[in-house]
Symmetry: C2
Subunit: 129 residues, 2 copies
């Protein structure tokens, strides 16, 4: 059996942790960001761990469930030290009747022994027709 | 009026050129790739300009139109020398009745005076419900 590339293993572990934490304890995502981290959520841009966590914990829905199992998960290395992650899938907001499609991209970098989010972009994807 | 950051200007110009070329002369995208460029199209991975252009020119549809105007376009810098681009939107394949949603991410790097695609990932995004 071919061994999985390290960037894929790291990416998969990140995706599991991120969405599990997002759906159960959003404030717990803070450790994934640094002062230089950039995040855009729809049109709005947020710089640094504090601003990003404030945004994430104040989204206009309190409970959300990402369908991580059925999401697409793509990973590629960017040079030696960065990992690119693209997720497309569905999420269910509490109180809404139907799930919504979303797309989210991350770049992951490493400091000391920890991987953290350097870039993040989130977009809802609406049906094309 | 606030001046647009260079990475946004470069990103916008790239997006216009990429989709216009994709929709009119897909083989013309070759100049955007280098031997180290990585591209994934749905599940499949392709490495290097030759393999990527072969994939793009042999997709199972001969004519396609991306709705670039209404697509979301997000840009962020990755360090000093790389630009992250996320596009979500709709495309219309010739012969099909309805447009399809897609999500596509790029990283752009520069050699000499030219920006080129270092990473690319494409996914169709299907309605969540």
């Amino acid at each position: 059996m071919a061994q999985e590339a390290p960037y894929v293993t790291i990416g998969r572990q990140f995706v599991e942790f991120y969405y599990q934490t997002f759906d159960t304890n959003r404030a717990g995502l803070g450790g994934l960001y640094r002062p230089t981290s950039m995040m855009s959520w729809e049109e709005k841009h947020h710089l640094g761990a504090d601003a990003i966590v404030e945004k994430l914990t104040n989204l206009p829905f309190s409970k959300v469930q990402h369908d991580v199992t059925n999401a697409t998960k793509d990973f590629q290395p960017i040079g030696e030290d960065t990992i690119l992650v693209l997720i497309t899938g569905a999420l269910m907001v509490e109180g809404q009747e139907r799930p919504m499609s979303f797309s989210q991209v991350f770049t992951l970098k490493q400091d000391a022994q920890n991987w953290y989010i350097y870039n993040e972009m989130f977009r809802f994807v609406y049906p094309a027709a």
